[in-house]
Assembly symmetry: none
Homo-oligomer: 225 residues x 2
Protein backbone atom coordinates (compact mmCIF):
# COMPACT_ATOMS: atom_id res chain seq x y z
CA UNK A 1 0.00 0.00 0.00
CA UNK A 2 1.04 3.64 -0.07
CA UNK A 3 3.87 4.66 2.20
CA UNK A 4 3.68 7.96 4.07
CA UNK A 5 6.81 9.59 5.47
CA UNK A 6 6.08 11.59 8.63
CA UNK A 7 8.71 14.13 9.69
CA UNK A 8 8.36 16.02 12.98
CA UNK A 9 10.70 16.70 15.86
CA UNK A 10 7.99 16.07 18.44
CA UNK A 11 7.79 12.30 19.08
CA UNK A 12 4.26 12.62 20.42
CA UNK A 13 2.94 14.11 17.23
CA UNK A 14 4.83 11.56 15.16
CA UNK A 15 3.36 8.68 17.13
CA UNK A 16 -0.15 10.09 17.05
CA UNK A 17 0.02 10.65 13.32
CA UNK A 18 1.53 7.26 12.70
CA UNK A 19 -1.28 5.53 14.58
CA UNK A 20 -3.94 7.49 12.74
CA UNK A 21 -2.40 6.87 9.35
CA UNK A 22 -1.90 3.17 9.97
CA UNK A 23 -5.53 3.04 10.97
CA UNK A 24 -6.35 4.33 7.50
CA UNK A 25 -4.39 1.54 5.89
CA UNK A 26 -1.24 3.43 5.02
CA UNK A 27 2.27 2.22 5.64
CA UNK A 28 4.15 4.75 7.77
CA UNK A 29 7.81 5.68 7.98
CA UNK A 30 9.01 8.34 10.41
CA UNK A 31 11.89 10.74 10.90
CA UNK A 32 12.60 13.41 13.49
CA UNK A 33 15.10 15.61 11.67
CA UNK A 34 15.88 16.81 8.18
CA UNK A 35 18.87 14.61 7.48
CA UNK A 36 17.17 11.36 8.36
CA UNK A 37 14.07 12.49 6.48
CA UNK A 38 16.07 12.89 3.28
CA UNK A 39 17.76 9.60 3.92
CA UNK A 40 14.47 7.81 4.47
CA UNK A 41 13.05 9.28 1.28
CA UNK A 42 16.01 7.92 -0.64
CA UNK A 43 15.74 4.46 0.87
CA UNK A 44 12.27 3.52 -0.33
CA UNK A 45 9.48 4.73 -2.56
CA UNK A 46 7.39 7.27 -0.66
CA UNK A 47 3.89 8.25 -1.77
CA UNK A 48 3.58 11.44 0.28
CA UNK A 49 5.77 13.23 2.78
CA UNK A 50 4.24 15.05 5.76
CA UNK A 51 6.79 17.59 6.90
CA UNK A 52 6.92 19.77 9.97
CA UNK A 53 8.80 23.00 9.32
CA UNK A 54 10.36 23.33 12.77
CA UNK A 55 13.13 20.77 12.67
CA UNK A 56 16.18 20.81 14.93
CA UNK A 57 18.96 20.35 12.40
CA UNK A 58 17.94 22.32 9.33
CA UNK A 59 15.31 24.72 8.06
CA UNK A 60 12.15 23.15 6.71
CA UNK A 61 12.38 24.86 3.34
CA UNK A 62 15.94 23.60 3.07
CA UNK A 63 14.64 20.07 3.38
CA UNK A 64 12.12 20.76 0.62
CA UNK A 65 14.74 22.24 -1.67
CA UNK A 66 17.14 19.38 -1.07
CA UNK A 67 14.46 16.82 -1.80
CA UNK A 68 13.35 18.58 -4.95
CA UNK A 69 16.85 18.18 -6.34
CA UNK A 70 16.06 14.63 -7.24
CA UNK A 71 12.49 13.76 -6.26
CA UNK A 72 9.05 15.09 -7.15
CA UNK A 73 7.06 13.33 -4.47
CA UNK A 74 4.15 15.32 -2.99
CA UNK A 75 4.99 17.24 0.19
CA UNK A 76 2.40 18.32 2.74
CA UNK A 77 3.78 20.88 5.16
CA UNK A 78 2.69 21.20 8.79
CA UNK A 79 3.62 24.33 10.65
CA UNK A 80 2.83 26.30 13.76
CA UNK A 81 3.60 29.53 11.94
CA UNK A 82 0.59 31.27 10.48
CA UNK A 83 2.50 34.00 8.69
CA UNK A 84 1.75 34.06 5.00
CA UNK A 85 5.41 34.62 4.14
CA UNK A 86 6.24 31.24 5.66
CA UNK A 87 3.57 29.61 3.54
CA UNK A 88 4.70 31.30 0.35
CA UNK A 89 8.29 30.36 1.04
CA UNK A 90 7.51 26.69 1.63
CA UNK A 91 5.14 26.40 -1.32
CA UNK A 92 7.56 28.07 -3.70
CA UNK A 93 10.38 25.85 -2.48
CA UNK A 94 8.39 22.93 -3.82
CA UNK A 95 5.77 21.98 -1.24
CA UNK A 96 2.33 21.00 -2.48
CA UNK A 97 0.17 21.90 0.48
CA UNK A 98 0.44 23.69 3.82
CA UNK A 99 -1.60 23.29 7.00
CA UNK A 100 -1.16 25.33 10.15
CA UNK A 101 -1.30 23.81 13.62
CA UNK A 102 -3.58 23.10 15.27
CA UNK A 103 -5.29 21.25 12.49
CA UNK A 104 -8.20 18.90 12.19
CA UNK A 105 -7.23 15.31 11.60
CA UNK A 106 -10.01 14.79 9.12
CA UNK A 107 -8.84 17.79 7.12
CA UNK A 108 -5.30 16.45 7.09
CA UNK A 109 -6.51 13.10 5.85
CA UNK A 110 -8.64 14.73 3.17
CA UNK A 111 -5.70 16.76 1.91
CA UNK A 112 -3.60 13.64 1.96
CA UNK A 113 -6.15 11.86 -0.18
CA UNK A 114 -6.17 14.79 -2.60
CA UNK A 115 -2.41 14.55 -3.00
CA UNK A 116 -2.45 10.78 -3.41
CA UNK A 117 -5.20 10.98 -6.00
CA UNK A 118 -2.94 13.05 -8.25
CA UNK A 119 0.16 10.97 -7.83
CA UNK A 120 -1.45 7.70 -8.83
CA UNK A 121 -2.39 8.73 -12.34
CA UNK A 122 0.75 8.59 -14.44
CA UNK A 123 1.64 4.96 -13.88
CA UNK A 124 -0.34 2.01 -15.26
CA UNK A 125 -0.69 1.28 -18.93
CA UNK A 126 2.86 0.22 -19.74
CA UNK A 127 3.11 -2.81 -17.50
CA UNK A 128 4.80 -5.40 -19.62
CA UNK A 129 7.80 -5.04 -21.89
CA UNK A 130 8.80 -7.71 -24.36
CA UNK A 131 11.94 -8.19 -26.37
CA UNK A 132 13.40 -10.96 -28.42
CA UNK A 133 15.36 -12.31 -25.48
CA UNK A 134 13.37 -11.48 -22.32
CA UNK A 135 9.99 -10.38 -20.94
CA UNK A 136 9.43 -8.01 -18.03
CA UNK A 137 6.27 -7.30 -16.05
CA UNK A 138 6.97 -3.93 -14.51
CA UNK A 139 4.10 -4.09 -12.04
CA UNK A 140 4.65 -7.60 -10.76
CA UNK A 141 8.39 -7.10 -10.94
CA UNK A 142 8.79 -10.36 -12.73
CA UNK A 143 11.27 -11.19 -15.45
CA UNK A 144 11.24 -14.19 -17.73
CA UNK A 145 14.05 -15.26 -20.01
CA UNK A 146 13.59 -18.33 -22.18
CA UNK A 147 10.93 -19.68 -19.82
CA UNK A 148 12.92 -19.20 -16.64
CA UNK A 149 12.43 -16.56 -13.98
CA UNK A 150 15.28 -14.12 -13.52
CA UNK A 151 15.99 -12.60 -10.12
CA UNK A 152 17.06 -8.99 -9.70
CA UNK A 153 18.56 -7.16 -6.74
CA UNK A 154 16.87 -3.91 -5.64
CA UNK A 155 19.47 -1.71 -7.30
CA UNK A 156 19.35 -3.69 -10.50
CA UNK A 157 15.58 -3.25 -10.54
CA UNK A 158 15.75 0.48 -10.07
CA UNK A 159 18.03 0.89 -13.03
CA UNK A 160 16.14 -1.52 -15.25
CA UNK A 161 12.83 0.07 -14.34
CA UNK A 162 13.95 3.52 -15.43
CA UNK A 163 15.36 2.29 -18.71
CA UNK A 164 12.38 0.10 -19.58
CA UNK A 165 9.82 2.81 -18.90
CA UNK A 166 11.56 5.04 -21.43
CA UNK A 167 12.03 2.84 -24.47
CA UNK A 168 14.41 4.18 -27.10
CA UNK A 169 15.12 7.17 -24.94
CA UNK A 170 18.66 8.02 -23.96
CA UNK A 171 19.00 8.21 -20.19
CA UNK A 172 21.95 10.22 -18.97
CA UNK A 173 24.35 8.71 -16.48
CA UNK A 174 23.52 11.61 -14.20
CA UNK A 175 19.83 10.85 -14.43
CA UNK A 176 20.36 7.22 -13.53
CA UNK A 177 22.76 7.96 -10.71
CA UNK A 178 20.61 10.63 -9.10
CA UNK A 179 17.44 8.59 -9.46
CA UNK A 180 18.92 5.42 -8.03
CA UNK A 181 21.63 6.53 -5.62
CA UNK A 182 20.72 10.16 -4.99
CA UNK A 183 22.22 13.43 -6.20
CA UNK A 184 25.38 13.00 -4.12
CA UNK A 185 26.48 10.10 -6.31
CA UNK A 186 26.04 11.90 -9.63
CA UNK A 187 29.68 11.35 -10.55
CA UNK A 188 30.15 7.74 -9.54
CA UNK A 189 29.97 6.35 -13.04
CA UNK A 190 31.71 3.21 -11.81
CA UNK A 191 28.51 1.95 -10.29
CA UNK A 192 26.71 2.13 -13.58
CA UNK A 193 29.38 0.19 -15.38
CA UNK A 194 29.22 -2.59 -12.83
CA UNK A 195 25.45 -2.80 -12.80
CA UNK A 196 24.94 -2.49 -16.51
CA UNK A 197 27.30 -5.41 -16.92
CA UNK A 198 25.25 -7.45 -14.46
CA UNK A 199 22.00 -6.58 -16.17
CA UNK A 200 23.41 -7.60 -19.50
CA UNK A 201 24.75 -10.84 -18.12
CA UNK A 202 21.29 -11.67 -16.82
CA UNK A 203 19.22 -10.45 -19.75
CA UNK A 204 21.12 -10.38 -22.99
CA UNK A 205 21.72 -13.44 -25.10
CA UNK A 206 25.19 -12.19 -25.89
CA UNK A 207 26.24 -10.08 -22.91
CA UNK A 208 29.41 -9.01 -24.66
CA UNK A 209 27.43 -7.80 -27.64
CA UNK A 210 24.24 -6.31 -26.22
CA UNK A 211 21.23 -5.65 -28.42
CA UNK A 212 18.78 -4.12 -25.95
CA UNK A 213 20.79 -2.39 -23.23
CA UNK A 214 22.88 -0.09 -25.35
CA UNK A 215 25.73 2.18 -24.28
CA UNK A 216 25.92 5.63 -25.76
CA UNK A 217 29.55 6.46 -25.05
CA UNK A 218 30.07 9.63 -23.10
CA UNK A 219 26.37 10.19 -22.57
CA UNK A 220 24.44 7.35 -21.02
CA UNK A 221 22.40 4.26 -21.75
CA UNK A 222 19.36 3.37 -23.82
CA UNK A 223 16.88 0.49 -23.87
CA UNK A 224 15.98 -0.68 -27.36
CA UNK A 225 13.06 -3.14 -27.57
Amino acid sequence: MNTILVVDDDPHIVRALAITLKGQGYTVVTATDGQSALHAAAQQPIAVMILDLGLPDMDGTAVISALREWSSLPILVLSARHGSSDKVEALDAGADDYITKPFGLDELLARLRALLRRSIEPSEEVTTVETSSFTVDLNKRQITKSGLDVRMTPTEWNILDILLRNPDKLITQQQLLTEVWGPAYAKEANYLRVYMAQLRRKLENEPGNPRHLITEPGMGYRFVP
Copy 2:
Protein backbone atom coordinates in the same frame (compact mmCIF):
# COMPACT_ATOMS: atom_id res chain seq x y z
CA MET B 1 0.23 31.65 -21.18
CA ASN B 2 -1.75 29.70 -18.60
CA THR B 3 -5.44 30.34 -18.37
CA ILE B 4 -7.10 30.60 -14.95
CA LEU B 5 -10.86 30.20 -14.56
CA VAL B 6 -12.22 32.28 -11.66
CA VAL B 7 -15.67 31.33 -10.37
CA ASP B 8 -17.38 33.44 -7.70
CA ASP B 9 -20.84 34.92 -7.36
CA ASP B 10 -19.51 38.20 -5.98
CA PRO B 11 -18.50 40.40 -8.96
CA HIS B 12 -16.18 42.45 -6.77
CA ILE B 13 -14.11 39.49 -5.79
CA VAL B 14 -14.05 38.22 -9.36
CA ARG B 15 -12.81 41.55 -10.62
CA ALA B 16 -10.21 41.95 -7.93
CA LEU B 17 -8.88 38.47 -8.54
CA ALA B 18 -8.89 38.93 -12.27
CA ILE B 19 -6.82 42.10 -12.02
CA THR B 20 -4.33 40.48 -9.66
CA LEU B 21 -3.96 37.39 -11.80
CA LYS B 22 -3.56 39.34 -15.01
CA GLY B 23 -0.89 41.35 -13.26
CA GLN B 24 0.96 38.06 -12.74
CA GLY B 25 0.84 37.29 -16.43
CA TYR B 26 -2.00 34.78 -16.41
CA THR B 27 -4.89 34.81 -18.82
CA VAL B 28 -8.17 35.01 -16.90
CA VAL B 29 -11.65 33.71 -17.67
CA THR B 30 -14.51 34.33 -15.24
CA ALA B 31 -17.90 32.88 -14.32
CA THR B 32 -20.43 33.76 -11.63
CA ASP B 33 -22.40 30.53 -11.34
CA GLY B 34 -21.89 26.80 -11.62
CA GLN B 35 -23.48 26.25 -15.01
CA SER B 36 -21.45 28.90 -16.78
CA ALA B 37 -18.33 27.72 -14.98
CA LEU B 38 -18.73 24.22 -16.36
CA HIS B 39 -19.47 25.67 -19.75
CA ALA B 40 -16.39 27.88 -19.69
CA ALA B 41 -14.22 24.95 -18.68
CA ALA B 42 -15.48 22.99 -21.68
CA GLN B 43 -14.86 25.83 -24.12
CA GLN B 44 -11.12 26.19 -23.72
CA PRO B 45 -8.12 24.57 -22.06
CA ILE B 46 -7.94 25.75 -18.45
CA ALA B 47 -4.79 25.43 -16.38
CA VAL B 48 -6.36 25.92 -12.94
CA MET B 49 -9.87 26.66 -11.69
CA ILE B 50 -10.40 28.89 -8.67
CA LEU B 51 -13.82 28.04 -7.30
CA ASP B 52 -15.94 29.72 -4.64
CA LEU B 53 -18.21 27.24 -2.89
CA GLY B 54 -21.14 29.59 -2.37
CA LEU B 55 -22.73 29.75 -5.79
CA PRO B 56 -26.34 30.76 -6.47
CA ASP B 57 -27.44 27.95 -8.77
CA MET B 58 -25.78 24.83 -7.45
CA ASP B 59 -23.70 23.53 -4.60
CA GLY B 60 -19.96 23.95 -4.94
CA THR B 61 -19.19 20.29 -4.46
CA ALA B 62 -21.70 19.51 -7.17
CA VAL B 63 -19.68 21.66 -9.56
CA ILE B 64 -16.54 19.76 -8.63
CA SER B 65 -18.17 16.37 -9.10
CA ALA B 66 -19.63 17.38 -12.44
CA LEU B 67 -16.29 18.66 -13.65
CA ARG B 68 -14.46 15.55 -12.52
CA GLU B 69 -16.68 13.46 -14.79
CA TRP B 70 -14.58 14.48 -17.73
CA SER B 71 -11.72 16.71 -16.60
CA SER B 72 -8.83 16.39 -14.18
CA LEU B 73 -7.79 20.02 -14.14
CA PRO B 74 -6.57 21.32 -10.77
CA ILE B 75 -9.26 22.98 -8.63
CA LEU B 76 -8.49 25.49 -5.89
CA VAL B 77 -11.50 26.07 -3.65
CA LEU B 78 -12.26 29.36 -1.92
CA SER B 79 -14.80 29.34 0.87
CA ALA B 80 -16.10 31.42 3.74
CA ARG B 81 -16.94 28.25 5.66
CA HIS B 82 -14.26 27.18 8.11
CA GLY B 83 -15.92 23.95 9.10
CA SER B 84 -13.68 20.98 8.51
CA SER B 85 -16.55 18.92 7.14
CA ASP B 86 -16.91 21.38 4.28
CA LYS B 87 -13.24 21.05 3.49
CA VAL B 88 -13.30 17.27 3.59
CA GLU B 89 -16.35 17.19 1.38
CA ALA B 90 -14.85 19.48 -1.25
CA LEU B 91 -11.46 17.77 -1.25
CA ASP B 92 -12.97 14.31 -1.50
CA ALA B 93 -15.22 15.45 -4.32
CA GLY B 94 -12.07 16.12 -6.29
CA ALA B 95 -10.73 19.53 -5.28
CA ASP B 96 -6.96 19.88 -4.97
CA ASP B 97 -6.69 22.70 -2.46
CA TYR B 98 -8.91 24.70 -0.14
CA ILE B 99 -8.46 28.22 1.28
CA THR B 100 -10.84 29.92 3.69
CA LYS B 101 -11.78 33.56 3.40
CA PRO B 102 -10.38 35.94 4.23
CA PHE B 103 -7.15 34.83 2.62
CA GLY B 104 -3.86 36.47 1.81
CA LEU B 105 -3.36 37.17 -1.86
CA ASP B 106 0.24 36.10 -1.77
CA GLU B 107 -0.77 32.78 -0.24
CA LEU B 108 -3.37 32.27 -2.94
CA LEU B 109 -0.79 32.97 -5.62
CA ALA B 110 1.72 30.63 -4.02
CA ARG B 111 -0.83 27.80 -3.90
CA LEU B 112 -1.71 28.56 -7.49
CA ARG B 113 1.93 28.21 -8.48
CA ALA B 114 2.14 24.91 -6.60
CA LEU B 115 -0.81 23.56 -8.57
CA LEU B 116 0.51 24.82 -11.89
CA ARG B 117 3.91 23.32 -11.22
CA ARG B 118 2.38 19.84 -11.03
CA SER B 119 0.18 20.19 -14.07
CA ILE B 120 2.99 21.19 -16.38
CA GLU B 121 4.78 17.87 -16.20
CA PRO B 122 2.72 15.56 -18.39
CA SER B 123 3.00 17.83 -21.41
CA GLU B 124 6.22 16.27 -22.60
CA GLU B 125 7.26 18.54 -25.40
CA VAL B 126 7.18 16.70 -28.68
CA THR B 127 10.50 17.93 -29.89
CA THR B 128 11.02 16.10 -33.11
CA VAL B 129 12.68 17.67 -36.12
CA GLU B 130 12.20 16.25 -39.59
CA THR B 131 13.97 16.93 -42.83
CA SER B 132 14.04 15.30 -46.23
CA SER B 133 17.05 13.18 -45.31
CA PHE B 134 16.92 12.58 -41.54
CA THR B 135 14.69 12.69 -38.45
CA VAL B 136 15.76 13.75 -34.98
CA ASP B 137 13.92 13.21 -31.69
CA LEU B 138 15.48 15.79 -29.43
CA ASN B 139 13.82 14.35 -26.36
CA LYS B 140 14.93 10.77 -26.84
CA ARG B 141 18.19 11.83 -28.41
CA GLN B 142 17.51 9.54 -31.29
CA ILE B 143 18.39 10.11 -34.92
CA THR B 144 17.07 8.16 -37.87
CA LYS B 145 18.31 8.32 -41.43
CA SER B 146 16.61 6.20 -44.08
CA GLY B 147 15.34 3.80 -41.44
CA LEU B 148 18.64 3.32 -39.67
CA ASP B 149 19.68 4.75 -36.33
CA VAL B 150 22.57 7.16 -36.43
CA ARG B 151 24.93 7.41 -33.47
CA MET B 152 26.39 10.68 -32.28
CA THR B 153 29.27 11.43 -29.94
CA PRO B 154 28.63 13.87 -27.08
CA THR B 155 30.27 16.80 -28.83
CA GLU B 156 28.50 16.10 -32.08
CA TRP B 157 25.20 15.99 -30.25
CA ASN B 158 25.84 19.26 -28.44
CA ILE B 159 26.43 21.08 -31.69
CA LEU B 160 23.51 19.46 -33.47
CA ASP B 161 21.20 20.19 -30.56
CA ILE B 162 21.94 23.91 -30.67
CA LEU B 163 21.48 24.15 -34.42
CA LEU B 164 18.27 22.12 -34.48
CA ARG B 165 16.64 24.10 -31.72
CA ASN B 166 17.14 27.27 -33.75
CA PRO B 167 15.89 26.42 -37.22
CA ASP B 168 16.76 28.88 -39.96
CA LYS B 169 18.62 30.97 -37.47
CA LEU B 170 22.26 31.86 -37.95
CA ILE B 171 24.46 30.63 -35.12
CA THR B 172 27.84 32.31 -35.01
CA GLN B 173 31.00 30.32 -34.54
CA GLN B 174 31.58 32.08 -31.24
CA GLN B 175 28.19 31.02 -29.96
CA LEU B 176 28.79 27.40 -30.85
CA LEU B 177 32.30 27.33 -29.47
CA THR B 178 31.42 28.95 -26.17
CA GLU B 179 28.31 26.81 -25.70
CA VAL B 180 30.04 23.53 -26.42
CA TRP B 181 33.67 23.98 -25.40
CA GLY B 182 33.45 26.97 -23.10
CA PRO B 183 34.39 30.63 -23.54
CA ALA B 184 38.12 29.86 -23.51
CA TYR B 185 37.82 28.13 -26.88
CA ALA B 186 35.96 30.93 -28.64
CA LYS B 187 38.67 31.21 -31.31
CA GLU B 188 39.29 27.56 -32.10
CA ALA B 189 37.32 27.54 -35.32
CA ASN B 190 39.17 24.39 -36.36
CA TYR B 191 37.02 22.33 -34.07
CA LEU B 192 33.88 23.47 -35.79
CA ARG B 193 35.15 22.58 -39.22
CA VAL B 194 36.04 19.09 -38.09
CA TYR B 195 32.73 18.46 -36.37
CA MET B 196 30.54 20.05 -38.99
CA ALA B 197 32.16 17.75 -41.53
CA GLN B 198 31.39 14.74 -39.35
CA LEU B 199 27.80 15.81 -38.86
CA ARG B 200 27.34 16.23 -42.59
CA ARG B 201 28.88 12.87 -43.32
CA LYS B 202 26.43 11.25 -40.95
CA LEU B 203 23.32 13.22 -41.85
CA GLU B 204 23.43 14.72 -45.31
CA ASN B 205 22.68 12.72 -48.42
CA GLU B 206 25.45 14.59 -50.23
CA PRO B 207 27.97 15.58 -47.55
CA GLY B 208 29.96 17.60 -50.04
CA ASN B 209 26.90 19.57 -51.01
CA PRO B 210 24.92 20.06 -47.79
CA ARG B 211 21.28 21.09 -47.88
CA HIS B 212 20.47 21.29 -44.18
CA LEU B 213 23.66 22.14 -42.35
CA ILE B 214 24.65 25.28 -44.15
CA THR B 215 27.83 27.33 -43.82
CA GLU B 216 27.55 31.08 -43.77
CA PRO B 217 31.10 32.04 -44.74
CA GLY B 218 32.80 34.31 -42.29
CA MET B 219 29.94 34.14 -39.82
CA GLY B 220 28.73 30.76 -38.71
CA TYR B 221 26.31 27.95 -39.44
CA ARG B 222 22.61 27.54 -39.97
CA PHE B 223 20.18 24.63 -39.89
CA VAL B 224 17.60 24.67 -42.70
CA PRO B 225 14.77 22.11 -42.38
